[in-house]
């Protein structure tokens, strides 16, 4: 079995991962970072983010305002100390990225331009036309190329965190190309593997968002926090789920029902004067209620509403949101200059994830996490648009620095136990390839998607959540009898899909369990049987931990510094 030794082992090469890698090598001139990713880094899902990244930029803005907007957007579940740290570092990180070549859109005087975004009281979203994630990721990837101490292991799939003496000392990852297991050892491990939108059937997320890192941490004994909070993005294309950026509303787009009404203004959905720029959970709920009231358009993939951009004019659309035009034309055959785009809520982001503190550290010494796979939490029960790209940078850098400091302060393990674990993983992988069994990967995946859609959708209630949880538990049982056809070693993507499915089942179980037991409605978690927020009983983070007899749910307090809890009205 191949053994690679580095100082820091990073899993995931997206926005948070690359930022962490660069931070780590800049923190110390001798450290090497192994960047283990199941994709070439520029293919990571950060690339499809469109709208922008938030950071205080204008004179009429200040850190407290950004913090307050974020906190309110989170329905007051975010940890206030983390939010303070986040907003303070935000602009600095965005300027750093600009120095690294990110082509932010500009004002006439050469300064970086900012646009309005959902839930933000003033313009503070930095953007690169409407392909911000793409430009950010490529700037990070290209900058990472200049550091020889970032050693990349492209298309390596991590299957287990290696733990020795209660410390994370690396990962077992197999080279998808050769099929061989590697032990990638280090003195600290950072997880930046993104979210798990693919547990749902309709999502903006790419194929790769299967919650791998979350599952890895979970199985290593680290808790997953706030998993019930799943963000539905209000404007995804029906069917494919392709993202139509919030920037289309930020630039002035309208959402209209089948009566031609701007329903966010016409009816009371809690967004007040913000209308289309209300926070995502409220807008998504509004759309679902419009469907329930029969005011949605009917389509082959379910109901939808109209996103109208015609009044913006061709010039503004081509200048500010050209990618939206391209996507609409290619995937629904509609030119938004002349016709409205059909949109509906689709799963977009997981507010929950690996439980970390504001330094990116988990409870397992040596294990750090950042980005969508982590939950610090700054997003609480609902994330504001454009906060997550900044989150990748801020907490990616913090996790990178923390992991570097930890690595410097630790000695290497004796490797014996770690290598045994890696060998066990190699054996497990060999057994999985071409395994005989009665269940099919695609079938279990489809049933998982049906369960999460029915039980953990925009509106939830006790019975359907319980049913979903039961289904997931059953599917996990059936997963043990999975049958694979591909026995080959070289670039076997069937075994990768099987491993990803296993990760998705673990993550889905934590989502359903946390959702079932949160008997209130807060942020993106809306229950028809408990429709109000209950700060008295539920102002706390849920935490799910792995145990042999099934996942254990507990709760953690929310950190408060300066802001009092309020009713969330806009």
């Amino acid at each position: 079995m191949e053994i690679s030794r580095h100082d820091i082992v990073l899993v995931g090469g997206g926005g948070a991962g690359l930022r962490a890698a660069i931070a780590a090598v800049e923190a110390d001139p001798k450290l090497t970072v192994a960047c283990v990713s199941k994709l070439y880094p520029m293919r990571s899902h950060t690339v499809s983010a469109e709208g922008g990244a938030a950071g205080v930029a204008r004179e009429d803005d200040n850190l407290d305002l950004h913090a307050y907007d974020t906190l309110k957007g989170s329905d007051f579940l975010a940890d206030q100390d983390a939010v303070e740290v986040f907003v303070e570092a935000a602009s600095r990180e965005l300027v750093q990225l600009e120095h690294w070549g990110c082509p932010w859109s500009r004002e006439k005087d050469g300064r970086v331009a900012v646009r309005a975004f959902g839930g933000m009281t003033t313009k503070r979203t930095w953007y690169a036309t409407d392909k911000t994630g793409f430009h950010m990721l490529h700037a990070l990837f290209q900058t990472s190329l200049k550091h020889d101490r970032i050693v990349r292991y492209d298309e390596y799939f991590a299957t287990r965190i290696l733990v020795e003496n209660g410390r994370a000392v690396g990962v077992a990852a197999f080279d998808m190309r050769t099929g061989k297991m590697h032990a990638v050892l280090g003195r600290s491990v950072i997880l930046c593997t993104g979210g798990a939108g693919r547990i749902f059937p309709f999502t903006t997320n790419a194929a790769v968002k299967t919650g791998d890192g979350m599952a890895l941490a979970y199985r290593a004994g680290v808790g997953l926090k706030d998993m019930e909070f799943v963000q539905y993005h209000p404007t995804g294309l029906p069917g494919t789920g392709i993202l139509i950026t919030e920037a289309s509303r930020g630039e002035g787009g309208y959402l209209k029902n089948n009566k031609g009404e701007r329903f966010l203004i016409e009816y009371d959905y809690g967004v007040g004067g913000k209308a289309e720029l209300g926070p995502r959970d409220m807008v998504s709920r509004a759309e679902m209620r419009e469907f329930q009231a029969g005011r949605g358009f009917k389509g082959p993939y379910g109901d939808y509403v109209h996103l109208e951009l015609m009044h913006l004019g061709e010039e503004k659309i081509d200048k500010k949101i050209p990618f939206v035009r391209e996507l609409a034309r290619n995937y629904v055959g509609i030119d938004p200059v002349f016709e409205p785009i059909p949109v509906r809520p689709v799963v977009h982001y997981m507010m929950g994830g690996v439980d970390t503190n504001l330094h990116g550290a988990t409870e397992l010494p040596g294990l750090f996490a950042a980005g969508e796979c982590a939950c610090v939490s700054i997003n609480g029960a609902n994330r504001l648009g454009s906060n997550s790209l900044t989150e990748c940078l801020v907490f990616g850098a913090r996790a990178g620095n923390s992991a570097a400091a930890f690595a410097k302060g630790s000695s290497s393990g004796d490797e014996k136990s770690a290598l045994e674990q890696a060998r066990a993983e190699a054996a497990r992988l060999d057994r999985l390839r071409g395994k005989h069994g009665g269940e099919k990967i695609a079938q279990i995946r489809r049933e998982l998607n049906l369960a999460t859609e029915s039980g953990c959708g925009v509106f939830r209630e006790e019975d359907s959540m319980r049913a979903a949880l039961d289904t997931v538990t059953q599917l996990k049982g059936r997963y043990a009898d999975i049958g694979l056809s591909d026995r080959s070693l070289i670039f076997n993507t069937e075994v990768v899909q099987a491993l990803e499915l296993g990760n998705m089942l673990d993550v889905a179980e934590t989502v359903a369990l946390s959702a079932l037991h949160r008997r209130e409605s807060r942020g993106a978690h809306t229950r028809t049987d408990f429709p109000t927020r209950n700060d008295g009983e539920f102002w706390k983070h849920s935490l799910v931990k792995f145990a042999a007899d099934g996942p254990h749910l507990s709760y953690k307090p929310v950190t408060k510094t300066r802001w009092e809890l309020e009713e969330r009205k806009y």
Partner: protein
């Protein structure tokens, strides 16, 4: 149930552990009206032949993973609509790259070439982050913006006839990326990239096939970048133009 139409796909397979050379296999796939070729490949993998290996991720034309040849033409399979093709649809891995497995090609040479042009901001003195951003006017941004749109899908490499004969040619995407940085008003690294570009296998390998720009899904127009870069390079070579970029 939504309407589907049976479409025949001829897919090139290659299993290095058992096949001596690549071979076509045919699949009949029930396709929906708005499907792309990628949807059909996923349907094959999910329900017909799980041993088919292919790369894909975002399915919206921005990650660059799913580039393949469809009926001989390099295209992103997530942007190739089944309804636009008649008869049997032939799917092959990208040309000009060694085939690892089925529709997956070896992209290491591509990654290496991208890195060789030093695609990062190179400056003599870096501004401190506390001093804020470098000022760059919208016009300065327009100069290089088009070339910054490359998604690294390597379709241009599959299309380039020069690469067919000379696999060591730097290639359209790498040159366009170098040119993107050379044109960026914040960059001063023109001289550092000169050697990689000014080579028989660098810029000068290009012989005006222009097919790269024809297949580029993001309209980067790498052919234009190469010809502009050639002019700059030639003038720098005879010292009419200084190598250091203007800032």
């Amino acid at each position: 149930m939504a309407e589907t139409r049976m479409v025949k796909f001829e897919v090139l397979r290659f299993r290095p552990e058992s096949d001596k050379e690549p071979v076509f296999e045919t699949y009949e796939v029930p396709c929906m009206e708005d499907w792309v070729v990628l949807d059909a490949l996923n349907a094959i993998k999910d329900d017909i032949d799980p041993t088919l290996s292919h790369r894909w991720s975002c399915r919206m034309g921005v990650c660059g993973s799913c580039g393949m040849l469809v009926n001989g033409r390099p295209i992103l399979t997530c942007a190739a609509f089944v309804r636009d093709y008649q008869g049997t649809i032939r799917v092959e891995p990208l040309s000009n790259f060694p085939i690892v497995r089925d529709l997956v090609v070896d992209l290491e040479s591509f990654i290496h070439k991208i890195k060789s042009v030093k695609p990062w901001i190179i400056r003599k003195i870096e501004k401190d982050v506390a001093e804020g951003e470098y000022r760059q006017s919208p016009e300065q941004l327009e100069e290089f913006k088009q070339y910054s749109m490359c998604i690294n899908c390597a379709l241009c490499y599959a299309a380039c006839p020069v690469l067919a004969a000379e696999p060591e040619f730097l290639g359209p995407a790498a040159i366009a990326l170098a040119h993107r940085y050379n044109l960026d008003s914040r960059d001063e690294g023109n001289a550092s990239r000169f050697d990689a570009l000014n080579d028989g296998d660098g810029l000068w390998g290009c012989s005006y096939a222009n097919e790269c720009s024809q297949v580029c899904p993001k309209h980067v127009d790498p052919a234009m970048a190469i010809q502009q870069a050639k002019l700059t390079d030639a003038l720098q070579f005879v010292h009419v133009l200084p190598k250091k970029s203007f800032t």
